[in-house]
Symmetry: C2
Subunit: 348 residues, 2 copies
DNA sequence: ACCACTGCTGACAACGTTGTCCAGTTACGA
DNA sequence: TCGTAACTGGACAACGTTGTCAGCAGTGGT
């Protein structure tokens, strides 16, 4: 008995019973292609036939299988976004902005968090390529993106955001972290500070090292020496940052001001400053909610994460629409928002 | 001349030049199926052949087309998440948790923000169904989900989170907003407050009305009257919440304490309280970053958004693995975190 | 020498959709 | 009345992959 194997079926059975166009066609008594025409709103179907087909569609609960459509058409109407951590208050609005632009172009967003791990970044990106996303927006974790070369050659539009790609040519949208950090640090110097601590992220992260460069540049501009112990770089986990911040505040010649390199570092540093009871000035890179309500309110060098995401997504879709110009590198400025903490005078 | 039409091709040409298994097979001098076997790590390929195929794969930069695979296999290894706003500090960790669980199950996450618009929720959900996601996690915006019936019947696993679905049976994971709001309000009453304001979200949102119910229950428990002007419900935009909060603080018998219904409302209310200079007690539903650093630190009824997401995702994958038990309704408890603002005594 | 068996390999169909092309029907002017 | 154009509908192939099955060599036992 083999008659139960591969029976020709007219009733839906796979996908737990998902009807196909064939099923709809059978029910409406029309041809397959006619159903396709109705589903896609193509012309050339009489109103009467159209109505019969529509009825069959609702009766069966038919939904077009986009996988098959993609296979046939070659476009998926979806873009991928890979970033460090979707829940990070800096990246969440960025992601949201990309989603919004994608929606305007009728595309869905698939995203993944790399957790700052280059291997995972690559894994995610390639998984997205396997799904044939039309384009990719990437906040890179690694610094070697040669693995993307075949994909880009195959036509996957790619835009990097917040950090530049490594060993590969591509569109990039960045924030000017160097200028921002320089301005923020200069602000502290202008308020009389000479011993300024820098609490940053891991040095191999581009944005982190750019900001450090800005700090050094501002100090150099003012002719101030930088004592290396004033600088602490590394993972942003609260334990490390707490310990290091305390260290900067201790000793015979403690820092009188802090420049914090990103929002995660900032919240931890703020906690330490509050606990220490010292009036240490603070300028933070990256704005955060309620910064204005702390006492003192926190002076920040604000980035525009949503604008970053929007710009990148728009660039991506411009590429998808066929722009063939050379790859671009856009840089968005930061904005210094004085709120109080950055204007505290030095206290020795 | 029609010989340029539909030429049989051995070299890749579509997708901007993406090689297929056929191309790999040709280059390696083997059959199509053998390439498939190698790509999927199936056994039954001699080491020598396997090596030749691997070389061809890397030489051509081949990447399996998952769309075609999905079409053939019926499973996409992707799940959809629809929520209100990805960038909301409450939903971001929820989303992240779902992503994490999905990753453990080898699935990707596709998400969309409904912006609290039922039509957009439906549009997104159906788009995800058309892509044949294996399952859906939904934070509903609407209150009628009958449109999902055919999808669920067709085998799309569905779990609702944070709010229950309408007119449909499904798994749900909720936070006990009623109990949480009741406890928070009771906390204020225990500290001597009699006139307590409630600043909430739009009343048609389940979580909002549940929390209001909890507030009323606590007042009733204590035998206290509720004056309706103490209650304000509506959109959470800062303008409205600011105006309404000022209103609650005005008049001959102003409230001496506030209960705020969600994190967006809370930050606005905190701003107003700070600006007013009044010592009004505050208990907020939903924890938020830096709540402990404000002065006074904000007492909150904390939810566990990540746990909510994780629980929902785990339930989803249990379904996908074939659990056939009746639909479940899980409720997670809240936790009252006294920090100062909720323990202020009444000041008239 | 033959057979049974095992281990590799490839031909072929099918997944559900869309593009191409052709056939049938109707309407209209010559 | 016929020819022709306009319109409607359907048969068929193709997209790139995987499941089924059959064939082919090599091996070992009789």
């Amino acid at each position: 008995m083999t008659d139960t194997i591969r029976p020709t079926r007219t009733t839906a059975s796979r996908y737990g019973g998902r009807p196909t166009m064939k099923d709809v066609a059978a029910r409406a008594g029309v041809g397959l292609k006619t159903v396709s025409r109705v589903v896609n709103g193509e012309e050339g179907v009489s109103p009467d036939t159209g109505r019969r087909v529509q009825e069959a569609i609702t009766a069966l609960g038919f939904r077009r299988n986009d996988s098959a459509r993609v296979l046939r058409k070659g476009r998926t109407a979806s873009v991928g976004l890979v970033l460090e951590d979707l829940a990070d208050p800096f990246y969440a609005p960025l992601s949201r902005a990309v989603e919004e632009v994608a929606r305007l172009h009728g595309a869905l967003l698939i995203n993944g968090s790399s957790t700052e791990d280059p291997a995972r970044e690559q894994e995610l990106v390639l998984a997205l390529c396997a799904r044939r996303v039309d384009g990719l927006v990437i906040v890179p974790a690694g610094d070697d993106h040669r693995y993307l070369a075949p994909e880009i050659a195959a036509g996957v539009a790619t835009v990097f955001v917040d950090r530049a790609p490594g060993l590969i040519e591509s569109d990039v949208v960045l924030t000017d972290g160097f200028a921002g950090a320089r301005e923020g640090t200069a602000h502290l110097i202008a308020h009389g500070h000479r011993r300024i601590g820098f609490v940053g992220d891991q040095p191999h992260i581009q944005t982190a090292s750019e900001r450090l460069r800005g700090y050094r540049a501002a100090m150099a501009d003012a002719g101030l020496p930088v004592h290396e112990p004033w600088i602490t770089l590394g993972p942003t986990d609260p334990a490390r940052v707490t310990a290091e911040t305390w260290r900067l505040l201790a000793g015979p010649e403690p820092v009188t001001a802090l420049f914090t390199g990103n929002n995660r570092v900032t919240v931890t540093a703020v906690r330490v400053l509050a606990a220490s009871g010292r009036r240490v000035a603070l300028v933070a890179f990256d704005d955060f909610e309620l910064a204005d309500l702390l006492s003192p309110a926190v002076t920040v060098v604000a980035q525009a994460p949503a604008q970053l995401g929007r710009t990148a997504a728009e660039l991506l879709f411009r590429r998808l629409e066929g722009t063939e110009q050379a790859t671009q590198r856009l840089t968005l400025p930061t904005r210094l928002l004085p709120r109080g903490s950055g204007e505290l005078p030095p206290q020795d």
